[in-house]
């Protein structure tokens, strides 16, 4: 019996995600190296493995902010992992410690792939899809740190557009769900409306309120 078989669907999709993660990792390494030197960006990618929070916290530090502000900014950017973790929870296995560890596999792309149309969750898809992204993210960071001089300005290469385009590609796969379109429009409107008044990250977390549309109708 092949114990890896249940993970293969996730692994297959995860390779595509991994190539995108590699490119994002390169842009993180290029941006972070002048501020942090060569080692810290790689350590950050190894232990944190979270694009949004790493870019956000690095931007705060680059602007002269202190560690507390950078931690707060990054934490708010990752606050969405709270409801995402609740969604994944029933599918995870084992002791509380093991569940908490399996929960670390929650990253945006894998999570979006693993949520099912009925609100259920596929543990093997989540873990399978995350496995290729982790080494790709770290390797991309190393390439960015080492090759920054040769790569040049990430903005000139349009690398800052990778992130939203990556999420747009994931979103497209979701829009076939019943009521996904109105929820997406409302969530987007909430996020943009709150952006000028709240710190980065919180508008994204509060956009999740749009999913309460799921409570309407259907008895």
């Amino acid at each position: 019996m092949n114990r890896l078989a249940p993970y293969q669907a996730g692994l297959k999709a995860g390779i595509g995600f991994g190539i995108a993660a590699l490119l994002l990792g390169v842009s993180f390494g290029v941006l972070a190296e002048p501020l942090m030197g060569p080692v810290a960006p790689v350590v950050m990618s190894v232990v944190l493995f979270s694009g949004a929070a790493q870019f956000g916290a690095t931007a705060v530090l680059a602007a002269g902010g202190d560690a507390a502000t950078a931690i707060a900014a990054g934490t708010m950017l990752n606050a969405r992992f709270l409801p995402m973790g609740v969604a994944a929870a029933p599918a995870l296995r084992g002791s509380p410690l093991r569940r908490a560890i399996e929960g670390q596999a929650v990253v945006d792309a894998s999570w979006a792939l693993a949520v099912q149309h009925d609100g259920g969750f596929d543990r093997e898809v989540l873990i399978g899809a995350t496995i290729p992204q982790y080494p790709a993210w770290v390797a991309g960071t190393v390439i960015g740190v080492l090759g920054g001089g040769a790569i040049g300005d990430p903005a000139a290469l349009g690398l800052d557009a990778l992130f939203p385009a990556f999420f747009l590609g994931l979103l497209a796969a979701e829009l076939g769900r019943p009521r996904a379109l109105p929820v997406a429009l409302l969530g987007g409107a909430i996020a943009l409306a709150l952006t000028p008044v709240l710190p980065p990250g919180l508008p994204v977390l509060l956009a999740s309120v749009a999913s309460l549309i799921g409570l309407l109708g259907e008895r």
């Binding site: 995108a20 602007a63 934490t75 670390q104 385009a165 769900r177 997406a184 987007g188 994204v204 999913s211």
Partner: protein, 102 residues
């Protein structure tokens, strides 16, 4: 540099806690149907928010810059059912091309 290492340690601890909280609080319990109906729609809400804030904000302010052109290119790629990797590369190329011109 100390600030960098404190940031890495603190942010890692916070992120691990955020990801662990749901699994620890819910455990193996089945979620009620109403919660599942909401969860099924979490992804479109969160992903749209990430797309729009990633494109139209800069330093906490709303803005329109070359990333919007990149997103437009990505939308065309998505409409043509391009693979995800092609979509992100098209977005980067579109953004870079516009920046090279203006």
């Amino acid at each position: 540099m100390t600030e960098v290492w404190i940031t890495i340690a603190g942010l890692t601890a916070a992120t691990v806690a955020l990801k662990a909280a749901g699994p620890l609080i819910v455990g193996g319990r089945e979620l009620p149907d109403r919660a599942l109906a909401v969860i099924a729609l979490l992804a479109p809400a969160l992903l749209t928010a990430l797309v729009l804030t990633g494109t139209f904000t800069d330093d906490g302010e709303l803005t329109v810059d070359a990333r919007a052109a990149g997103l437009g290119c990505a939308a065309v790629a998505v409409a043509l059912r391009a693979p995800l990797l092609v979509t992100v590369l098209v977005a980067a190329a579109g953004t870079a091309a516009l920046r090279a011109v203006i």
